[in-house]
């Protein structure tokens, strides 16, 4: 088997399946952490990494990397992904009017939410994507995720795995110093990632167990122009050909400011859908973050001239979930 191409020019644009299979075989981590593994690349985070991450807190400044969970979000209903619907069970209006039936002047408000777990800032769990009927670590997809949920790699297993060193690569600013925003359809290459690290300097070096945040600038643009097709349409993002770079880097997780982390439209002339997901999640075992807001973080990094920080992004422990809404925080 030849090594898969690491530049889009090397892709056979008429054969996505072959390109995916080659990378799946080349970069597959099945069995690397034992037959029972449920964490994939999150295993790369160890105690030393967490100590290193905490030591990056030199100021005590904290930034949230979340987008709002809001009815006015980007979702348009595709594949039944709606924006979150948040409703009240009790209100202050009722409390003030005195109609709640509680004693001694107490009043209360409660609320409920109905939402897809992938509707806003989130982690994709290991049960989110399958490759030819197989899930992470080589399990049959139907043995893992039934209509009862992910019976094996549910995101609850990652409840204590979201703490590490975070590194921001601001590809938007690096490649487009004029606007800070990559064009929709721009495929970020391994060379781009390496060059950005070089340009940003030593605090940007990415290694085993780090959580890598890639800012494309697409969210900045959506804020200016409206959501449009932000949820599922054309977007800048990682090229399928970065699969090797991702594998070698031994990052624990990756997240972007886009809906789908990889470039869209996908890099083929025939029908294709999220080929890098197909390599990354079930084969590499990579946890992927989407719909993050990296704009304030990018400004904070530039201001300080450093691109590393303590990152905490803990999924909700929803039993059997294949994803989780999160509120990631970066601490300097």
């Amino acid at each position: 088997m030849t090594t898969p191409a690491e530049h889009p020019a090397g892709l056979d644009r008429n054969n996505p399946e072959a390109e995916i299979v080659a990378r799946a075989e080349a970069y597959r981590n099945w069995g690397r952490w034992g037959a029972d593994d449920v964490l994939g690349t999150l295993n790369f985070i160890d105690a030393a990494k967490r100590k290193q991450a905490a030591a990056l807190v030199t100021e005590g400044t904290v930034l949230s990397l979340t987008q709002p969970f809001d009815m006015n979000g980007p979702q348009k209903g595709w594949r039944r992904r709606t924006n979150p619907v948040h409703t009240m069970l009790d209100t202050g209006t009722d409390a003030e009017r005195g109609s709640q039936g509680f004693p001694h002047g107490i009043g209360g408000a409660d609320d409920v939410i109905a939402m897809p777990l992938q509707c806003s800032t989130q982690w994709d769990g290991l049960g989110h994507i399958f490759d030819h009927g197989f899930a992470w670590n080589g399990r049959r997809a139907g043995d893992v995720v039934t209509s009862e949920g992910d019976l094996v790699t549910g995101i609850e297993h990652a409840a204590a795995s979201g703490v590490s060193r975070g590194v921001l690569l601001d590809l938007g600013r690096f490649l487009r110093p004029d606007t800070g925003e990559l064009d929709d359809g721009y495929a970020i290459t391994a060379d781009d990632l390496n060059a950005c690290i070089s340009a940003q300097g030593a605090t940007s070096v990415v290694g085993t167990g780090d959580m890598l945040l890639v800012r494309t600038g697409q969210l900045t643009r959506a804020r200016r122009t409206g959501w449009g097709d932000y949820a599922g349409g054309p977007a800048p993002g990682l090229s399928l050909t970065t699969a090797g770079w991702i594998h070698r880097s031994e990052i624990a997780a990756i997240a972007t400011d886009t809906w789908g982390f990889e470039v869209r439209p996908n890099e083929f002339d025939v029908p294709a859908f999220q080929p890098l997901h197909q390599v990354a999640i079930p084969n590499i075992g990579l946890t992927i973050g989407e719909l993050w807001d990296l704009d304030a973080l990018a400004e904070a990094c530039i201001e300080r001239g450093r691109f590393e920080f303590l990152l905490v992004a803990s999924p909700l422990a929803i039993t059997g979930a294949v994803g989780s809404p999160i509120n990631p925080v970066a601490v300097f």
Copy 2:
């Protein structure tokens, strides 16, 4: 006005309203952080506190303090609080069978959730409780929380406020070395808190900006005996008379391993409902965590002989929410 009693024996058990009003007036923080404040005691967390907290990470060990978000949870439908209902939009079974209609062998699973925001491990937001028709900082309840949500103090404002030094006070073990579990109905007093701090030692000292975690042991018991009335029934918890201690301590937040943080039944011989909430949330401006799992944390603290750690508990940025599901993590 006399100083409100700081021991249950001093309560007039026939007059909850007077006891509440006295404490509300004595400990009210309205205006303390300006007329526009939306954070309350979370304001006590400053950069120095966060640096101090991060410096507690000496090992790189992380523990999640969450209970599961699961259909088999404690909720029984009271006030429409159900357990979370998690359903799949796509499954591995469908993917494996090849019926999803995607190209090149990719398959996917997505999911949705419908849940009360207070159903499992959570923060109560500042719009959760009202006092005589008033919300935090003296606003009219009906100006703050309508059926559109909390228009002023929605929990999204606290998105970057959940990072601080955490301190565990294991009242269960301290008061009941035999079982490690306080009885239902046991009212934790200010003296109990102070004595526990003394017994646990210097790492347990609680001060401005800390997040205080109080383990009662009730969850330990529920795990052994079944949920029973864990969600809303009798429970150990803080006495109304601790309001002064809480106010003076200048803690940023408090959380317990119970449904409702304060003792239940409440400490009156006439109908009463969560009087300490009525003082703490709208008057003191305190963020309260409930349904946390502090058991593994307690063991970790005892093992190390230290009761302080970095605590990160970031709410989801749900616009207008009066509470949020969370996955708090403690890092040693």
Copy 3:
């Protein structure tokens, strides 16, 4: 007080409030069925009317007047009205694969739905609209509908009230024989209604206790051109000036093939919103049906030369609901 104008030309287009108040006062039915009434004009349906309706079944032909309850519906999220989200708890794929854990070869599928009660074919209940803080029969709005639901006139009270004679007035075909579709913004007048009855003939006469169905043709257009702003945008519909006609006719209910039953934009040059609702629901006590599909019914009526039929449209008995999804059926 002068009689309110019954033609749009008589409206003061700069004073919606005065025009609404005049009609509210002129046509108010408060107290007509006693102080405790919870049904409004549904009271007009009596046993004789139901017998008459059943006697219209001369063929045994049944037609459903429902639109689909489907993710691909017209809702766009305005005021948190989404399309219904239907998800499976168990599937045939899982059953066929044998992973459900049931004995002797049985398998099952269950499902859940999350939807606004006004998302597709529906009845508006009496608690759906208020006039200057008052609900049907003169009750304070806040005494009727709190965050616990409609405590007084919840749609469960109408569970046995949806059976009557139905009459179709096909205003689309009558006024636009060329296309069968009224233009968006066309305000149907009392004269239009009377002329349509005359043209359609004796089976179209509308009287006490009938349920009146008005076809505008807008749904026909939306099917051809896509939803666009069908849910809330410009639409043909009844003029505010038909309030008197509606009141005198003593119809039990009215329904249309549009989102909002009345003409949109509303007939004013200053901000206005659904003025006929404001007169009809809280003052007249009228039950209003929206998002019905009247196209097949219209063809059936024309084919038969008769416009009356047995109509059964029973709301779900959702405690405290201010509306209900329905599947209305017409039987010839």
Copy 4:
């Protein structure tokens, strides 16, 4: 093949699978209405039957046969079946307070619901149950119901099929004239059904296209004693051995006042689960109604000495649903 036993004494209580298979083979209607059929026994309802049904309306009296859709319902969370959660998007309290932002004094209330489609009074659709991996009409279960819903026999196809002659058999009163309530675990036999028809008289004769309602009295008991295990626990209901009677009767549908229509515990000494469902839905193609309230209907029938009426029970047209909440109405 011998004819399956039509009395419980003839069952091999250690071999549910053989007893089910025998009946499935004997009573299977696959292909009876063509290869593309999506209605099953609802096909038995024809125009003549509907005319006959309408002609039963001699008084104009209407009764709803629904149970409430209410948080205080019988569901306990088994298989994620909760009671319906109904929440408000807008309230009268807000409207009265003037905080909704609408012009000219209009106010509004909207609501949403989240519920299992099988939570209260309902029809089971044809995709609800499978037999050895096969669905109604011999289709592979995984070709019919995926996580996208029932792609073939979704309940929307039955939107115009819920109108027929209804017949009530009050087995509770017939077999237990003392209490009117069958004991939990009582298995109604074919002989019981025939004897009840004889006793009730000519208006009770059941034939092709009728919808049969069987009152057991269990709901009456639950109303008196509390829900207990009404949703899924022991119950009176039809014996597996009535499958032949059901098949020969050519009824269009059957409904009961219990959770599961058939007797529980099921009639075997080894693990078994709803064997009559397994024969009736995928093999006979029978539509089954559950959780109906037949008490007022039974009184109305006795009072009149007749047990037949127009029955209208139209499912909501939820695309791909395997069941639907309904409000069935009987008209005399």
